[in-house]
Each structure stands twice: as C-alpha cells, then as structure tokens.
C-alpha cells in the first residue's frame, strides 16, 4: 500500500480536508485520512495500523505512543491550538464573566452543564481543569452531563437539553444553535495542543512533505479559518 | 332443532356446493375421503367462512353472506372434535379437559368431569402431557374436551377412526346417551356405515362436494345404490319395532314388528319402548319352506316384491313381510335353484347373533352389525 495514510482526531476533519486538498500538489498525492477518536487511533497504531502520520487531539495519546516508541520523536510537532468557551442555547439570556469563583452553579440552575467526558474527552479534561482552577468545579460537579465527545456536548446545548456547555471555540463558532458566553482564560487550563508526528513504522516517501505542508503558511490560513490557533513557528 | 346449511365454496380445484336441512338429533355426514365432509363441518363450526350461503343452527343464523353475517366461532357454542386431536400441547390432559368449562355459564353445564373421565377411560392420563399419549388416547381426550364445554351443537369429525373396537363400543353408548338425553344436536362425520346406522337419525350423503342424498337413516340405508360398493354389505332394511318382552333366561329380547316377532340379544330398553332395528341384507337368507332343525330363530314369512341384480354374483331381494320390507342378498345361483320370482311366498331367515351389538343402551336403534 503506497498511499499516504493519516490518522487524525475527528474534530479536525473540516480543516484537515481543506489542507489536504491544498497540499496535494506539493506532496505529490492526496493523503488518505482516517478520522476517529484519538484514543482509538492511538491504539490502532499500537495494533499495527498502516498509518504514516498521527494527529492527536491532545498530548496524552501522543505521549502514549512515544512512550512505546511508536512514533519518530524528531518529527513530533505541536501543530495547532484551541480555546474552550462557555456556550448556551441561542435563545438563552444567560450572561456572565468567566473569572475566579464566578457563579456558574446559579447559571446552570436546575439544568445541566454539558461537556466532554472529564476523564476521556480532551475538551472535557480541559474544561474540568479550568473549572477547578477557577474554583467552581466542586459547586457544579453534580450538574455536569458528560458527553462521549465534544460534538455531542454541543448538541446537548443546541437542543436546549442543557442550559450551558463547555466546548472548543472551533465547534462553538460554527454552530448556529448556540452562542458563546465567554472564553476560558488561557492560563486556567493546560495548553490545548494538537500534536502531529510520523509513526515509527512509516516508510511512505511523501510523509515528510505532508508534515512540512501542514506547517506551511497556506495550511495555517486554512486552520485559522476554522478558528484554530496555529502553533508552528513558521507562522 | 334444525341445522340448515346452504353454501357454496371453493378450495383450490375443489368446489363444494351443498344444501341440506336436518332436524335430526344426530345427523351423519357420510361420504368418501375427499368428498368435503371436513370442509363442511368446519364451516358450521365457524373455522371456514363460506364464499356464499347461509348456515343456521337451532333457529340461530350463524352465517348469512348476503346479510354479511358471520358469528365468530367462540360465540357459537359449537363443540368440535377434530379428525386430528389438536390437543393443547402445553397443558396436561386435565387442563385440556377443563379448558372449555371456563366459557360455559354454570347453569348450562351438563357434562361432569368425573363422568366423562370415567367413560373415556382417561383417568390414568390426567396428569400427562398430550405428547405422551398414544394416538387413540389423544382422540379420547379430544372427545372429552369437547363434551366438557357443554356445547349446544356438537360436531364430530370421524372421532372414532383411530380408536379400537373396545373403545368405540364404550364411547358409542355415551354419544347415544348424549343424543337422547341432553337433546344436544350432533353432526357426525363418518365413513363407517355401521356407525352411521347405529347413531344417526338422519344422513347427508356427500359425494365430490355435492349432497347426493339426504333423509332419515332408514330411508337412506335401503338405497343400496347410494352406498359405496364396498359398504353395500352393510346396507339393509331398517324396521321400527317395539320391545314386546325380555327373555332373561336366554338373555334375549323379543321385539314386535309388522313383520313378526324378532329375537335379539337382551336389551336394556323397557317393554313397550320403540327400537329401531337394522337387518343387513347380507345376513338374511331366503327359504322356500319353513326351515326346521336350523339354529336361526327369526323366520319371517313374506312375499317377494322386488328382485334387483346386486354386486358380483348376488341379487338383492325385497320381501314384504306384512307391510315391512326386509332386504336379502343371496347368490344368483340360489335364486335360480330356489326358482325365486316376484310374488313368491318365502321366509326371510335371520340369526339372532346377527344383531350382535344390540345389547347396548336404552332407546337405541338396534342393528345387525359387524
């Protein structure tokens, strides 16, 4: 199989599909991209998947692979960044400023705070960290509805099921059913990073070119268009 | 009580187009295999909806396709004994028997569990599942189940076909008693002439989906042409008689008839009671002079009124015995040897033991039967 195969976190699909197209000429072929949860992809690489490049939605799963020597360490790059925001249904009147000990519990009321699974889903982990840092986690812990992924959490908010939610800015901006109430301060949670690396078993000759193109200005523009922050130095 | 059936119906290639009316206590549906007996009885029970026609029982219209009327089967209170027993496989024999009782108003229950169980000899089977019964046992339970629902009309589709003679003989009297004592009308499918003669007040003869003849049993049984060839030996005259007296010493009953006194094995019927007697043509001999030194006890003088060729080497001879007709089947050779002709005075000779199932129960037609 001489295809260039990329395993990427599902939340990157829109941006990465565009980048893939833009890079086709530079790389010499369009990469075949398999989108799934970072955890599943990491375990598949561990299981011998024919992936050349892995783009994870958090640092943990990349570390999981590098600890097992399944990626080429020198190729690992922190590619993108993101922000988490507090959202409410579009017709909500909720307003607040996100700061230490802000009154999130009152805002939630009898409803729920939707977010990604605080142990499993990266966005959930960041959200929990932020709420702890801001000192409100203990007051809202019992009101949290943990979703399978951040998109599901967004759905819970956009359907009005949950009064509030914490999701990535990238998702919130593109979803017409919700409005952003505020952005969590960058220092309230560990940096949100999408790392990329070539796998240890990868022999595809086009992989370096693809990695290079991912970090190009052209790609950076496309990522920014989807509200990612671009972390690579070339920008 | 009358059963009126006038229907036409099509099943694949088979077409049934039957019309009959019977006011009898027990109407036999008689006909060869595939003639439509089961189909017809299924229509009366409400299991098949006829394409067209009308069915009435006991003055109650059950089906009238013109009026769009069709009484569902569970509202007909018509008991049915199926050709295949159709017991409930998940219930014990006892539960099978009790099933219909739930749906019968207490006042209308005329069948008692213990009586039915005793009669059918199914006491030892009560706790068993149907799967563990022999073929005959299943059918006995099926009969019991139908009886215990205390139906207003009882349909029986060859209920005795898989029973042995001893069981048949035990059950027949109960069917007779049912017929005579409860006044429950019965429609009885059979292709056994002896059963029909014994049980039926009326017969409907079916052939290829059509009614070939219908009428009182006596009349039908004398029309040998209606009977299937193989069954003609069973045909014969039916005489209406009355009990004259019982001869306890010899275990016999003397019946009085227009033709003269006839001795049959002892009956339980009281003196004076009417008894219907079938004399099978094949059991009757003709003598031109009064026989002597012969073991046959019944010797009826009469005049030959008809001679018709019978099957094979036989002829059927009708002897008018003082107004009652007795049929005899003898060989053509005997006819010629004895020079029998119309108008000749002869004796009809019948053995008493020919009536060998006569000693059964009260008020019955009694017959010469094998």
């Amino acid at each position: 199989d001489d295809r260039l195969i990329v395993f990427a976190a599902a939340s990157m699909k829109n941006a990465l599909d565009a980048v893939n197209t833009a890079c086709e000429a530079d790389v010499g072929e369009a990469a075949t991209i398999s989108y799934a949860a970072s955890s599943a992809l990491a375990k598949q690489i561990e299981g011998g998947a024919p992936a050349d490049i892995f783009i994870s939605a958090d640092l943990d799963w990349m570390k999981y692979l590098s600890d097992k020597k399944l990626i080429k360490p020198d190729t690992e790059v922190k590619l993108l960044g993101n922000e988490i925001v507090l959202v409410a249904p579009k017709d909500s009147t909720a307003e607040t400023k996100i700061e230490k000990r802000f009154d999130l519990a009152r805002l939630i009321g009898e409803s729920r705070l939707a977010m990604g699974d605080s142990k499993a889903v990266p966005a959930g982990k960041y959200a929990k960290a932020a709420l702890e840092e801001l000192g409100v986690w203990s007051s809202v812990e019992g009101k949290v509805a943990q979703a399978e992924n951040v998109r599901a959490a967004l759905k819970l908010v956009s359907t009005g099921e949950a009064a509030l939610g914490i999701v990535y800015a990238t998702d919130a901006h593109a979803e017409p059913g919700v409005k952003v109430i505020g952005t969590f301060p960058e220092d309230s949670h560990p940096p949100i990073v999408y790392p990329v690396a070539q796998t240890a078993d990868s022999k595809d000759k086009d992989a370096p070119a693809f990695l290079k193109c991912l970090q190009s200005v052209k790609a950076g523009e496309l990522f920014k268009a989807q509200d990612f922050t671009v972390l690579t130095p070339s920008n | 009580m009358t059963v009126v059936v006038d229907i036409s119906h099509r099943l694949g290639d088979f077409e049934i187009d039957a019309r009959f009316e019977s006011a009898g206590r027990l109407t036999a549906l008689f006909g060869p295999s595939g003639s439509g007996k089961t189909t017809l009885i299924n229509m009366i029970a409400g299991l098949i909806r006829p394409d067209k026609g009308r069915i009435e029982a006991d003055g109650r219209v059950l089906v009238d396709t013109d009026a769009g009327l069709f009484v569902p089967k569970h509202k007909r209170r018509i008991g049915m004994v199926f050709q295949d027993a159709r017991l409930f496989p998940h219930m014990s024999v006892a539960s099978n028997l009790r099933y219909g009782r739930w749906f019968t108003p207490t006042v209308e229950r005329y069948a008692s569990m213990s009586a039915v169980v005793d009669l059918l000899g199914i006491g030892p089977l009560l706790d068993r599942r149907p799967a563990k019964l022999s073929g005959g046992e299943k059918q006995r339970v099926a009969i019991g189940r139908a009886l215990l629902a205390s139906p207003r009309l009882l349909l029986m589709d060859e209920p005795l076909a898989s029973l042995d003679e001893a069981r048949k003989a035990e059950i027949l009297p109960y069917i007779e008693r049912l017929r005579d004592e409860t006044k429950i009308p019965i429609v009885y499918v059979s292709h056994s002439i002896s059963e029909v003669v014994r049980l039926a007040s009326d017969v409907v003869v079916l052939a290829q989906g059509k009614v070939a003849a219908t009428g009182p049993t006596g009349t039908i049984m004398q029309r040998l042409d209606l009977l299937p060839t193989e069954e003609r030996g069973e045909g014969g005259a039916v005489l209406d008689t009355a009990v004259l007296r019982h001869d306890e010493a010899f275990g016999m009953t003397v019946l009085g008839s227009a033709a003269g006194d006839i001795r049959v094995p002892l009956l339980a019927t009281p003196a004076g009671a009417p008894v219907r007697l079938r004399i099978r043509a094949r059991d009757v001999m003709i003598a031109t002079e009064q026989p002597t030194g012969l073991s046959a006890l019944n010797i009826l003088p009469g005049t030959i009124v008809a001679i018709e060729p019978g099957e094979g080497p036989t002829v059927e001879i009708a002897v008018d015995c003082n107004g009652a007709t007795v049929l005899a089947r003898i060989t053509e050779q005997s006819r010629q040897t004895l020079n029998l002709g119309l108008g000749r005075n002869v004796y009809a000779v019948v053995k008493t033991v020919s009536f060998d199932r006569a000693n059964t129960s009260a008020g019955l037609p009694v017959e010469a039967d094998g």
Partner: protein
C-alpha cells in the same frame, strides 16, 4: 476476586444502574414487543412494511444517530418529550429512565424478531380448537398463543437485556454520562478506554458486565428448557 470487586462507589452505582436499566428496558419492551410482533406476524394491512422498517431502524442506524433522534424527539424540547413531561410527568432527559428508553429502543428489533418467529411457528389450528371451545380471541391469545410462544418471549427478553447491558452509543448521546443517574456500565467502560492506561479498569468492568449477562443468559436457558420440556414433542 477481590481485585474484580474492588470498585469505587461510582462504579458500583454503574453496576446497579446497568442492571436496573436493562431490567426495566426488557420488561417495558415486552408488551409493545409482543403486540408489534403479533401484528407483524399475523396482520395484513397497509403500512405493515413501514412498521416493520420502523422497528428495524435502531438496528440499521448507527447508535449515535439513534441517540440523537431520541434526543430530538424525547428530549426536553422534543415533541414527544414535551408531551410526555407535560401530561404524564414522564421525563427522560438526563434520567435513568432515558437510558432505559434508549436501551429498550436499541433492543426492540431483536426482541420483536424473536417473538415474531415464535408466533409464526404456532399451529393456528390449535388456536382454532380453543376458539370452538368458547374462548374469545383474547383468551385464546392468553391461554394458548402466549404459553406456546414462551420460548420466543424468553429469547426476545434475554436479547433485549443483553443488548441493554452493552448499549452505549445511543444512551450516552441521548442522556449523557452522569454518574449515579445515567452512567451505565458501558459508559463507565468507555471512559476507561479513552484514558491512556485505563485498560485494567475497563477490563474489570467488562468482566463484571459479562458475569451479570451470563447469569441472565443461563437463567433464561434454564427457564426455556423447563418450558420446552413441558411441551416436548417427540
């Protein structure tokens, strides 16, 4: 064994909740399951194909989609959800009842199919015999059909139960993953699998789930065998 049962309170709650959800889903599905199986097996009506398709939908759709559709219709703002909440006080959203609904829906096609197959195997002549004894169709159903299809009912019930023990996608999408309320065993297992190094925890819960389901399975087999023996045919 100690290792297996050394669970956190939340995990214990997940075990208890899963059993409750699976049991309720199974029991609540039975009446509509029987009814629809009956209609599909015996009915002759326009729209039967549609009904049949509808019943199979949860099988055909990715569970997440089913969960989303449940959310849209039985959620707080969904038409069915709003109606039920207003008129009967039945709320599904973020409740264990919602998890039971999701599990019941996901197991429904399995249950209906098993029951339907059993109904189709019933000898209708035996039902007809019961009719001639005076039993109306409802009685016939209760005393003849229902006992005769018991093996199918048991099979359908156990399929529904087992499915409920494993159902994850529709449940978490519909009612999320709230410890002690909607976090069933599969949700808890899922969480473990998403964490590097969570495999041991996932394995432990998986084993517990298997033990519970196996117990139910064995019970169902024993029951079915007992029922079957009663009607032994040979």
């Amino acid at each position: 064994m100690n290792w297996l049962l050394d669970l956190t309170p939340d995990e214990w709650n997940a075990v208890r909740l899963s059993i409750k959800v699976a049991t309720v889903a199974m029991i609540a599905s039975l009446p509509p399951g029987i009814l629809i199986a009956l209609v599909l097996a015996r009915g002759q009506f326009w729209g039967k194909t549609l009904l049949n398709g509808l019943v199979h939908l949860p099988l055909i759709l990715p569970p997440v989609v089913t969960g989303y559709l449940l959310l849209l219709s039985f959620g707080r703002r969904g038409p069915a959800g709003a109606f039920l909440a207003e008129h009967f006080g039945i709320v599904f959203s973020f409740r264990w009842t919602g998890a039971a609904l999701a599990c019941g829906v996901m197991g429904f096609p399995l249950m209906v199919r098993a029951i339907r197959l059993s109904i189709e195997a019933v000898d209708r002549r035996i039902e007809a015999a019961a009719g001639t004894l005076g039993a109306n169709p409802l009685w016939v159903f209760g005393t003849i059909t229902l006992p005769l299809i018991l093996p199918g009912l048991i099979a359908g019930a156990i399929l529904s139960f087992a499915k409920a023990m494993g159902e994850f996608g529709a449940t978490i999408t519909f009612v999320s993953n709230i410890p002690n309320e909607t976090q069933t065993l599969p949700s808890a297992i899922y969480t473990f699998t998403q964490v590097p190094g969570g495999d041991a925890g996932a394995l432990r819960l998986t084993l517990i789930s298997i033990v519970i389901s196996m117990a139910a399975l064995i019970a169902s087999e024993v029951l079915a065998r007992r029922v079957g023996k009663r009607m032994d045919i040979e």
